[in-house]
Every structure is written in C-alpha cells, then in structure tokens.
Amino acid sequence: MSSLTSLTLKAALDGLAAKSFSSEEITTAHVAAVEAARDLNAYVLETPEKALEMAKASDARRAKGQAGPLDGAPLGIKDLFCTQGVRSTAGSNILGNFIPTYESTVTANLWRDGAVMLGKLNMDEFAMGSSNETSAFGPVVNPWRSEGGNQKLTPGGSSGGSAAAVAAELCLGATATDTGGSIRQPASFTGTVGIKPTYGRCSRWGVVAFASSLDQAGPIAKTVEDAAILLTSMAGHDPKDSTSLNVETPDFASFVGKSVKGLRIGIPKEYRVDGMPAEIEKLWEQGIAWLREAGCEIVEVSLPHTKYALPAYYIVAPAEASSNLARYDGMRFGLRADGANLTETYENTRAAGFGAEVKRRILIGTYVLSAGYYDAYYLKALKVRRRIADDFDQAFEKVDALLTPTAPSAAFGLGENADDPVAMYLNDIFTVTVNLAGLPGMSIPAGVDAKGLPLGLQLIGKALDEGTLFSLGGAIEKAADFRARPAKWW
C-alpha cells in the first residue's frame, strides 16, 4: 500500500475518481505511514478513527455521484487551526487540552470539499519560530539528512510539522500559516511547495492569532498543481473575518502549465546579501536562466528598504502578539496556575503556560507599545512598513513578478541557532517583506546543495495575482525537474 502515499494529491484525486482505489484504502495507507513515522514528531495528535470515518463517508458520497473537489484526500492540519471536537493547542502548553466547539473557516472549506483529516501537525509555539524548536511538544525532525550524515536537521518553522509530513509522505498535502515566512521557509527546507496567498484570501477565523495584520493561511504540498488545488478550496470570502477579501477565488490549478512567455520578472538586487552561500546564489542564477528560457524577460529592480523589513517586523509582530495573547489569562479556557490573588494568578498562569520565545516576544511587544516608546518604535515601524510596501508597488509598475531565494540557507541542525534570537530571526530575511506588504509568495523546490539538502526559490506576485505565480511556479518546477526525495530512515 505504500505506493498510495507516494501519489501526488492530483494523482490521488484522479485515482479516486477512476475508482482505482477507495478513500478508505488511501486513508488507511496514510494512517499506517503516520504511525510508522513517530520519530519525526510531525503530528502532535493523530486522529485515525476520525480519518477512517471521514474516508468511509467520502466513499459513500462518491458512490452516490456527489464527490467534491477534494473528496477522499487525506490531509494534515497545522495545530494552529481550530478543529471542532479535536484538541487544538497552537503548540503551546497554555492552551492545554483546549477542545474547540467550532471549526476554522479554512478547515471547514476543506471538509466541505470532501477532504479527510489525518491529525494535527506540530509547529512552533503560536507560530513563533523558524526551526520548530519552540513547540511545547518538542521539535519536528526533518525527513531530509545530509548525504552520509545522521545529524537531526530542522524542517524549518513555524509550519515544520506540515512541511515534514508532506515531504515524508505522511499526508497528501497540509494546511499551514505564514506570518513572516512560516510556510515558505519550511517548504524550502523540505523540498516541498508552499504558498502564502495575498493577505485576505484565506479567512483567519478560527486560526489562533499571532500577528493579525500579517497572519495568512496557505497550503504546503508536493507539487505546484497540488498547492493550487488546495488553495482553491481553502480560500474564499468569509464575513466572520473583517479582513477577508470579498473577491472571487479562481481555479488556481488552471494557471499551472500556462505559458509564461513575455512575462517580466524582477530580480531585486537588495536580496544579494552578505554571507549568502554560493550555492544559493548559483541556484538563483539558474532560476533566472530557466525563466529566460521559458520566454520571460528579466529585469533588475530595486527594493531599497529590504534590509529594514526584519527589524520593522520585530516591532509590528510582537506588538500585535502581545495584544492578541493577552486573552490567555487562565480564566475562560486553557491552563490556570493559581496564585494568592487575581494578578498573581494571571502572572503564574502565563509564566507556566508560555515558552521562552513567546515570552520574549510578548515582552518586546509590551515594551514597544508602552508609554514613551510608542512613537519611537511602533509608529516608526508602521511607517517603515509603508516604505516597504511602496517599494513593491514601484517594482510592480515594471514587472509582473519577482524571483528571489526563499531562505538564506538549507536546513540546519536542531539546536544550532538556539542561543542567538537574532540569528534565528534572519532565516526570514527574504520572506518577511511579503507579509509586511500583504503580497502572495511561493516557494518551489529548485535544487539541492552540496550535502544533498533541498533549496527553494521564491516567487513574489502582485496582490491577488496568485495565478501568475502558479504559472511561473509550474515553469520552474518543470525546468528544475526536482526528483530528489529524502531516504527513509524513520
């Protein structure tokens, strides 16, 4: 049955439609793969009974000719999405045994279209991290290893569980979220495809909040087409999220395979940073050559405020997080650690429930919003954010999309960057600009480094122009012909 887990989502949906196998069969194969891969720590909660129940219901729908676009496809769900009746923790002890009484809009859309849930995927606590090491459940281990090595590598973060599960064939695709790079950097580290759509494409309702003006859901998948199929189901207007865009969701898969001839691709010179490994530089050049061969016109562009994006992000995101996470007070849900009085109970609850990185960011956020510092830090960062968005607006007057590396390195060893928060933050140097501007960004696996580890290229598009990214992503995928897979050791 292992061949069923090796299928792409598209091939699996075709096989289900052709009745080559049932949802129960492909779901059973995935449940077995998940159970056999516990060393990866990708799932924080396996829901095999629910999966089989949903699979049987899917088979019944299909028998009646009522199958939806994703009917019978087993997926993994990042534990940031609230799932009705199924524990949802955001990777944090403070949510404890939180069992939502409601379903997030994005996951509800997937179930509406017939998908099957295999379980909840590990992640950095409250999506704050780039290595999955801040999870209360311990880090996810990347299924990829250096050639000849056995060191445990990070799958990236915060959607490390989603990326590892897709790469290790523990689901046909996964939901993820991206506040500063949390879909794209793990996709790059695991040889998978990840897209953060335009801010407002996917409803944030029922997704545990980190930084509300930056958070956006998207898929991690095996191929560009699979990512397009998943995003088409996940996206859509939702009146329950006041920032949800009231726009039509195109059939994103119809853009994959379209000619990219004549498209103008911008190469932002500021993304050539000091200390970037030569292999990444080379891969970027290769990506430029692929798109040129596909008929694109390559244009050098300037995004002069790029270097200020990360420091601006580390004001804006912690400020919003300190406000959003004020709700974890131990009164209405989650953990409570009693103290001598109300204030002490709040303080003990939050000290016991939050991990070190989350506390650090709450403290930074509280500091930059506190009396006397608001203008100097928070307001300044919002103005720099505008400058960064203006840079993109100007570039997009000249080009249709941008091509950059996704991350400044390949997957690194677990524990390697743990002592220096700023070194860890630099992982998002190429991805965070897109969140600040609200634009779509996609990571596509494009090659491997000298150690055999995957590297991704990033495409950045105009707002609501994911279609062009899917066409370009498809062109890169075809040219790269990335077939490397992690050797199974788990």
């Binding site: 865009l245 103290g339 954010r385 928060p421």
Partner: protein, 95 residues
C-alpha cells in the same frame, strides 16, 4: 535606550508574566540585543509617511447589529478551568 533589569521587571508586570528576579538580568541582555538590532530603523527617512496599519486596501465592512448566535452557556464554558452552575469561577476581583 538600554533595557535594564528594572525595565524588564516593569514590562513583565505589564504583560502579566511572572519572571523570577534572578532571570531579569539575562532577559535584559537578550532584549537589549534585539532592540539594538532594531535601532537601525532610525536610519529610514519616514517624514510625511502615513503609518501602514493594515495590508488590506478596503474600508472595514459593516453588518447589521443583530445576534447571530449565542445562548449556549455549555459551549462557552466547555474549556473553562473552573465553573459552577453555569458560571466561570475566578479569583476574588473586588475587595
């Protein structure tokens, strides 16, 4: 503006996170490292720039002020650490 242990104590209090006295110095060093790196924002000329508060270019949507769902105390209380007779139980708030 350097962050010292006293500042961390104050900010931790504002954030309602109990931080033990012996950890304050180390936290101050850590937060200073991050804030020093952030200081480079001062280089950016932002005179006359409108702060960007949202990534969405649209006015906030309005809806009718009507009750959409509610009156389900059991659901609301289902994850509470302590409840009695359909109420949350919290520490004494008013002396």
């Amino acid at each position: 503006m350097a962050i010292d242990a006293a500042t961390v104590r104050k900010v931790a209090r504002l954030a309602r996170i109990a931080e033990p006295e012996e950890k304050l110095e180390a936290l101050a060093t850590e937060l200073n490292g991050i804030m020093t790196w952030i200081e480079q924002l001062a280089e950016v000329d932002t005179d006359g720039v409108e702060p960007m508060t949202s990534a969405v270019h649209m006015p906030a949507p309005m809806r009718e002020d009507v009750v959409t769902e509610g009156a389900d105390a059991a659901k609301v209380l289902s994850n509470a650490p302590k409840t009695v007779d359909g109420f949350f139980v919290v520490p004494k708030v008013v002396e």
